[in-house]
């Protein structure tokens, strides 16, 4: 689905140039914790979040996220908007809550999908701890 179609479905405001809204979105991910995005987010996903701290852009670049939709009416500040435009990360915001936003997109056929980075989640025994008191 194109990001601009998602923009219509969630009645979003947008803060990026129109061309960035022509991106094709394959997967979505929703979280309000940075480490959750990094652990469970599929690379290239569209992120739905209530986080508007500038940190979200570093995480977006690390996972090559396709864009960010801020939920619950949260709005990014001007610095974030400018940096996101430079890095070609589209930013949108909706007044809908997280659950409702995800539900609407899910009903339209969009899916989440597991992180594509780790094949199995078996605990590994490669930790060595040394503590000096």
């Amino acid at each position: 689905m194109l990001l601009k179609e998602i923009k219509e479905l969630l009645k979003c405001n947008w803060y990026s140039s129109e061309e960035l809204l022509n991106k094709e979105i394959q997967y979505c991910f929703a979280a309000d914790l940075m480490s959750d995005v990094l652990r469970y987010g599929r690379t290239g996903s569209l992120l739905m979040t209530g986080l508007t701290s500038n940190q979200i852009l570093q995480v977006a670049e690390i996972l090559d996220l396709s864009g960010i939709i801020f939920v619950r009416g949260k709005k990014p500040d001007e610095n974030i908007i400018a940096t996101a435009e430079l890095r070609k990360i589209p930013l949108l915001s909706t007044n809908l809550l997280l659950f409702d936003s995800c539900g609407i997109l899910y009903a339209q056929g969009l899916r989440g999908g597991k992180s594509n980075l780790m094949e199995n989640d078996e605990p590994k025994s490669n930790v060595q701890s040394i503590v000096h008191d």
Binding site: Q55, Q58, E61, L117, S129
Partner: protein, 146 residues
Amino acid sequence: MNQRAMYSQSFTIKGGDFINAGTVSVRIKRLLKEIGLKPDIIYRAAICCYEAEMNVVMYANEATLDFTITVENITVKLSDKGPGIKNIELAMKEGYSTATEKMREMGFGAGMGLPNIKNNADVFEIESEIAKGTIISFKINLNGKH
């Protein structure tokens, strides 16, 4: 520098600097992309760097990040000056966090950072001295299965 090192660079990370937080990891990610490594290697290395970098920003005073690429692996060593970690086993547990309310508002404090590094790295070591600092090292193999 290791004889077989193809590239190595050091970065400084400042504790408490939430404005620049994460930018070292983003620079490393761009560099790995330029070198043309496989995407999953780049993502795993960048995730490990970011989690380790954020821990310095949140809990330590400052750190040096030494980054080396050889034909075999990516090696990162982060040595910080800071309070150290009293109980490493506890700190490694998913969900354990001492993040402040302010950090949680920014989206941190899931207690997943160290476990994320452990899961994405092929080798992970953590060493800490109370009131001195913490050293985190990890390697990501360039060849072979994770």
